[in-house]
């Protein structure tokens, strides 16, 4: 069982608030999506949950343990793993080395070989390019590597920030197929996306953020049908 409970999360940059008190609950084994326009606070939410930026107020509770003040590497150790926006690969290192670095935490290290076989089965192109520097991969391959590197850490909860950013429609579909497969395998996932239509289509639960607040939340299939959501994010005619 893995659960994440976020209460009253406030955070910002240099005194300017971005999040105004967010409450988010993740269901075990479910795919939860956070959607919202640019600047609604999705990435800030993920970064402050991870501890990359220090939350001003509020709490982050992982499996009953208050982890609000822990640093990112300590949270990774507890199974909370973020695949960051813009991939942030170790570009000067090879595909293999990136994956090896993914398996840093105690839990994942002894399982490295087996996990590597799994991610290579999932993304065969990475296996072909294992000796190449991450810098030389295509955008799609880089995103695959970013997700694969995150999976190497054997996450209990995987946070994905804009995995379709800058990808062609075909590669985006590949990426969503992979995410869906992970969900089916029982992984608890948080998906932050600008592609609202696709993420609502594969998610179990959805939060709609606006101006650093949760505007509405509910089962994804219900959120998808709300007129306000259809008008604002899905391009439906008024």
């Amino acid at each position: 069982m893995s659960s994440l409970t976020v209460r009253g999360l406030e955070a910002g940059y240099g005194g300017v608030p971005v999040l105004w008190g967010l409450d988010v609950d993740l269901l075990d084994g479910a795919l939860t999506t956070l959607v919202g326009s640019n600047g609604s606070g999705k990435t800030t939410f993920l970064r402050s949950v991870m501890g990359l930026i220090r939350p001003w107020r509020g709490s982050v509770v992982l499996d009953g343990l208050d982890v609000t003040r822990l640093s990112a590497h300590e949270k990774a150790d507890l199974g909370l793993v973020l695949v960051p926006e813009g991939r942030q690969l170790f570009t000067t290192m090879t595909v293999l080395e990136n994956l090896e670095m993914g398996a840093t935490v105690r839990r994942a290290r002894p399982l490295m070989r087996a996990t590597m076989d799994e991610v290579f089965a999932m993304f065969p192109r990475l296996a072909e390019r294992r000796g190449q520097q991450a810098l030389t991969l295509s955008g799609g391959e880089q995103q695959m590597l970013a997700i694969a590197r995150g999976l190497m850490a054997k996450p209990k909860i995987l946070l994905l920030d804009e995995p379709s950013l800058g990808l062609s429609p075909r590669v985006t579909m590949e990426m969503f197929t992979a995410i869906r497969a992970l969900r089916r395998a029982g992984l608890t996932i948080v998906l932050v996306e600008q592609n609202v239509q696709l993420s609502l289509a594969i998610a179990d639960h959805a939060y709609v953020l606006a101006h650093g607040r949760v505007e509405l939340s509910g089962p994804a299939r219900e959120v998808r049908e709300l007129p306000a959501v259809r008008a604002a994010y899905l391009g439906a005619a008024e």
């Binding site: 942030q88 570009t91 000067t92 670095m101 840093t104 190497m152």
Partner: protein
Amino acid sequence: MNLGALLPSAIDGLLLGFVYGLAAMGLTLIFGVTRVVNLAHGQMIAMGMFVVLAVASGAGLNPYVGVLLAAVVGLAAGVVIYVVAVDRVINAPELTTLLATFAVNLIIIGTATTLLTTSPRAVDVDMGALRSGGVTVLGTHLVAVVIAVAAAGALYAFLFRTRLGKSIRAVAADRAAAELMGINSRRMLALAFGLGTALAMTAGALLATLFSFNVLSGGTYETKSFVIVVLGGLGNPTGALIGGLIIGLLEGVTAVVIPVSWVPVIEYAVFVLILLVRPRGLLGSRQ
């Protein structure tokens, strides 16, 4: 001008270049991983010299034991400097970290000058000499090259073959991403600072087997390290080694052609020229 002296002087300079390169590798490693320009670098080179002095003249042991000890002391000293002076300002703007290491530099200079005085010192090492044709190469210089190359090789093996070394490279590539993968980035920054300082003190220890020195000798070598690091590309250890050879050779050749006191002028001229023409260094690191 004595052209007959050109070859031996050039060879001497080239050999010395390995040691310069080793020192510069330390500076560039610290910068590449932590993004801190370590202004205590020269002083740590000088401290390496005094470790050899203490071991050889103080304890009466083989000076090369001192070289090994300098590396170990350097690793520990670098970690301590990072934890005490650098860690608290690691996310601050560059000027702040620059001033932090400058403060460390002044503290060490002040303490060392008081305790050790500025009188000149020398460690007597005789490793024989190699003669071929008109060229004589001192054994100490050859041993210094072997040790410098071995230390550089060990660093590379560590960075590319071990998990810990790869973690340091991961932090250098993207510190936030390394944290997200569970790497304790501050520990890696401290280790990188330790390794860089170990290289500086090892280089200083080797220089002590070649020349006389005093507490303030680090400054000259620090200047050379900066020129070399810029020449080889900031944050690029291979570039630093090659840059070291170039500066060593340049020094050897110019010393024959013009008075030795002009050597720093030439070096600074190269420094400015590189900054103007190829600000990313001759090897041009990728970022």
